[in-house]
């Protein structure tokens, strides 16, 4: 029976169990006896899922480990030596624009992290378990909600605007019984004043349609105003300041960055308002071949995203943590086609003014063959969920018991790594 209770708990979500008398639930006591009351308050959390397995050993190169150059003769210095951070690590050249954040202690990494997923190295399953936030003791198909939604279920004061899933991609980590908004930033709603007036009349009697339409129209109006502002800014821009030495990006890259700007701007807008949680995906990390040319654009996109979020969040950047996580890392050695294959231990990228940044967290396991997982992958030395758990504990005041049982069932958070200021 224990098994079923556990599953019901995951299924119905923590709130559902707290509401009924599931006396057999083994951790209910921990949850109900938790002392402090969590709250969303003024803190913001952005979660970015990097779909396709980002190569952490290239994004954050452990150049101080002599094995790196031997395992990756071409990749370890592809595009240049990178930006030295602390003597041991260097940032990939495509992330060099994040240097000011590192100096301001607004950028950090957790190295050698992983979910509990092992050995099969499938993107599909890896992302499933990353977003479900469970251990391996619960078969994935049973978990229909995501860890970020379970967090929303246990923090009082959830409003319709609190959490946003942004973009066309489904975001399983936000799926579940707690109400979450979703929006595709490309969505526009261009209505003539008369059409808008008539729609409001037609929706007036039906609450469901009325509320949804009102919000959609407000969102669309804000977005239209921004489009207009951006166009005016462009028109008013002094040609001298447009950095003439920078070659114009090729159209493809330009479109990609424009998409990322839209994503970041929309998220920043929401978070400056009533929203406290935003989640979206970036893809393009599955670099099996010619990683020297394929990883750079994706990292540039990530850099752009973080910089744009920082600019857009303005005064509330100091209240914000951005967590970028991926389903697993990639092989320690480069492969025969100058790429890397699916691995195990990876890297989490963290940014935000609420962060105690300027450091690489986690224990470095080394790259000697015996230190590798399965003699091929970076050995994970911490659970990626633990870093997210500590971030949420610091941001929203969730009790450890709630995080280890309801949000991330079965997680051992370990000692406080003090990742927030």
């Amino acid at each position: 029976m224990r098994d079923l209770n556990r599953r019901m708990f995951l299924r119905g979500g923590a709130a559902a169990v707290l509401g009924c008398s599931a006396a057999a639930s083994p951790w209910l006591t921990t949850v109900t006896l938790a002392g402090g009351v969590p709250a969303f308050g003024e803190r913001r959390l952005v979660v970015v899922i990097l779909r396709g397995a980002m190569d952490g050993l290239d994004a954050l190169r452990p150049v101080g480990d002599p094995m790196l150059a031997r395992l990756r003769p071409k990749l370890s210095s592809a595009g240049g030596p990178g930006l030295p951070l602390d003597g041991f690590y260097a940032l990939h050249p495509a992330l060099a624009g994040l240097a000011p954040l590192w100096s301001a202690q607004e950028l950090a990494f957790a190295q050698a992290v992983s979910t509990p997923y092992r050995d099969k190295r499938s993107h599909f399953d890896g992302q499933d378990i990353l977003e479900a936030g469970t251990g391996l003791d619960v078969p994935q198909p049973e978990v229909r909600d995501g860890w970020l939604n379970r967090m929303l279920q246990v923090v009082p004061g959830l409003q319709s605007e609190t959490a946003y899933a942004i973009g066309r991609e489904a975001m399983p980590l936000l799926a579940g019984s707690a109400g979450v908004r979703s929006w595709v930033p490309e969505q526009r709603l261009n209505l003539s004043p008369q059409a808008r007036l008539l729609l409001e009349r037609v929706y007036h009697e039906d609450e469901l349609f009325r509320d949804a339409a009102l919000e959609a129209m407000e969102l669309a109006e804000e977005l239209n105003a921004e489009d207009l502002r951006a166009a005016q800014d462009m028109a008013a821009m002094d040609p001298e300041t447009m950095a003439p030495e920078m070659p114009a990006p090729p159209p493809r890259a330009g479109r990609r960055l424009a998409d990322i700007d839209r994503l970041a701007d929309f998220a920043a807008d929401r978070l400056r308002g009533e929203s406290r949680i935003a989640a979206f995906s970036l893809s393009g990390w599955d670099t099996h071949r010619r990683q020297d040319t394929t990883l750079g654009p994706s990292l540039s996109g990530l850099e752009r995203l973080i910089l744009q979020l920082r600019a857009g969040l303005g005064p509330v950047w100091g209240q914000t943590v951005v967590l970028c996580m991926t389903e697993f890392g990639r092989t320690a050695a480069e492969n025969g086609s100058q790429g890397t294959d699916h691995g195990t231990g990876g890297t989490m990228v963290m940014a935000g003014g609420a962060l105690r940044g300027g450091q690489v967290f986690g224990t470095w396991p080394g790259l000697e063959e015996a230190a590798l997982y399965d003699r091929r992958d970076l050995m994970p030395t911490s659970d990626v969920r633990a870093w997210a758990a500590w971030a949420m504990r610091g941001l929203f005041g969730l009790e450890r018991g709630v995080l280890e049982n309801a949000v991330f069932p079965g997680l051992q958070m370990g000692a406080d790594p003090r990742i927030l200021r």
Binding site: F124, P172, A175, L198, V202, L208, A212
Partner: protein
């Protein structure tokens, strides 16, 4: 007394105006369901052999391309084959829309959608997308008016589902294949069979039943050449006990037997009846109606029509207030029908216009076709669909796309359009008045298509 025609069209079909010959009262609807499938006769689709052959070509090209460098001719060839798979997938979508538009048997089309959602799975590879979606035509359609036990067997033994629910990765730990490779069970299909497809979550089974069923199902596999097969050397030897019944030894016979027994469970009857009432009538179903439908199903040895008969004859089925929202697929079919677009036009449409005007808007409305978030399918609650994003996408479609679909000058007058697509449904009169005040016929039409009256069902 409300006219039953619009209710039949909204609640049990794809909207107004009804195609010629469409029945509008319960007995006529049942009589039509008991006959052959007119939608399939109008628009036959790819055969199982064609789908299997396409799947085989794709998997073979994948194997050949796998170890070749970027931009190799082999990779190019593989990408070409993958595009054919995508085309086949899209053809199935066009066919479903075409049948929804033109078939006089609207309830059958709706039931096909209901069971397709009931038996959801996600493809693991792009190569598998068409074969997975082909389960709708080849395993579901033939059985929607038959016995659930037969429907269940046809779907669970379909190659698309065996791939999508990981049965192909399941090996009996003590079978010759399991012993040799150290492989083991994958419980996914067994779990979904009990939990989603038959008895329902938490309905009196135990983890051990799932595990035993998973052992019993070992041996079910898919090969590139033959499709679904039973491979004895992957099957766990001996018998298994599922819900107190002993099945065995290994083989297809006991697998069929356990499915028949699962279909006959009272928990299954209630689960299916409840889902049907929720889908067709209300998110808060009348439990007495659910119980009556479950009884009819059990009394008829899992035949589905007796259960549908109880549903259609329930007073709630003809209650004028509409509580559900049309899902994006149903919105799209109803809107196209209202605009006079027929099935042949949908099949003729170029790839780009089809995607821009039909497929991508459905995605923005929240229903990326055949791509639900998980094997539990799409949500039912109206509030899951009428969200700011979902409604904005419907309004945008309603205001912008009809003008591109209808020839210039043929745009109907808004008030007449309201009467055409709403009949005398509640709110139609007011809506016609508002629509008449629009600045243009385009906006008037948009207002009707975006209205609650059109989007509820």
């Amino acid at each position: 007394m409300t006219d039953p025609v619009p209710l039949a069209a909204f609640r049990f079909g794809h909207g107004l105006p009804l195609p010629a010959g469409a029945p509008t009262d319960p007995e006529a609807m049942l009589a039509q369901l008991a006959g052959p499938d007119p939608g399939l006769a109008l628009f036959p689709g790819p055969t199982p052999a064609e789908v299997q052959a396409q799947f085989a070509r794709s998997m073979e090209a994948r194997l050949v391309a796998r170890k070749t460098p970027r931009k190799s001719p082999e990779r190019k060839a593989y990408n070409g084959v993958l595009r054919e798979v995508e085309d086949q997938l899209e053809l199935f979508l066009r066919l479903q829309i075409a049948r929804g538009l033109d078939s006089p048997d609207g309830l059958r089309e709706r039931l096909v959608r209901f069971w397709a959602d009931h038996f959801s799975a996600l493809p693991r590879l792009r190569d598998q997308r068409a074969i997975l979606v082909s389960r709708i035509d080849h395993a579901i359609r033939p059985h929607v008016t038959g016995r659930f036990a037969d429907l269940l067997m046809a779907v669970e033994l379909h190659p698309g589902l065996l791939l999508g629910l990981d049965q192909v990765a399941s090996v009996g730990p003590n079978s010759p294949a399991g012993q040799r490779k150290g492989q083991g069970l994958n419980e996914n299909l067994a779990r979904e069979m009990i939990e989603l497809h038959t008895m329902g979550v938490g309905a009196g089974y135990r983890q051990d039943d799932v595990r035993q069923l998973a052992e019993l199902l070992t041996g079910l596999d898919v090969t590139i050449a033959e499709g679904a097969v039973f491979v004895p050397r992957k099957a766990e030897p001996g018998s298994e006990t599922v819900l107190g019944q002993i099945y065995g030894p290994e083989g297809l016979g006991p697998i069929r037997a356990v499915m028949t027994d699962l279909a006959r469970r009272p928990e299954t009857a209630r689960h299916l009846a409840r889902k049907l009432v929720v889908h067709f009538l209300s998110d808060t179903p009348d439990e007495a109606l659910v119980a009556r439908m479950a009884e009819a199903y059990l009394a008829a040895d899992t035949a589905l029509l007796p259960m549908i008969r109880v549903l259609l004859n329930a007073p709630a089925a003809w209650e004028p207030s509409l509580q559900k929202a049309r899902q994006p697929f149903d919105f799209m079919v109803a809107a196209l029908r209202g605009l006079g677009v027929d099935g042949a036009a949908v099949l003729r449409m170029g790839g780009k216009p089809f995607r821009r005007m039909i497929r991508e808007p459905m995605q923005l409305m929240g229903q990326d076709w055949e791509n639900p978030r998980g094997p539990d399918g799409w949500p039912e609650a109206a509030s899951a669909w009428i969200t700011p994003q979902g409604l904005a996408a419907r309004i945008t479609w309603a205001m912008e796309v009809p003008g591109r679909l209808i020839e210039a000058g043929a745009m109907p007058e808004p008030a007449a359009f309201a009467a055409r697509v709403l009949g005398d449904m509640a709110g139609q009169g007011d809506l016609a008045l508002w629509a008449a005040r629009s600045e243009s016929p385009r906006e008037g039409l948009g207002l009707v298509l975006a209205s609650p009256a059109f989007n509820r069902r």
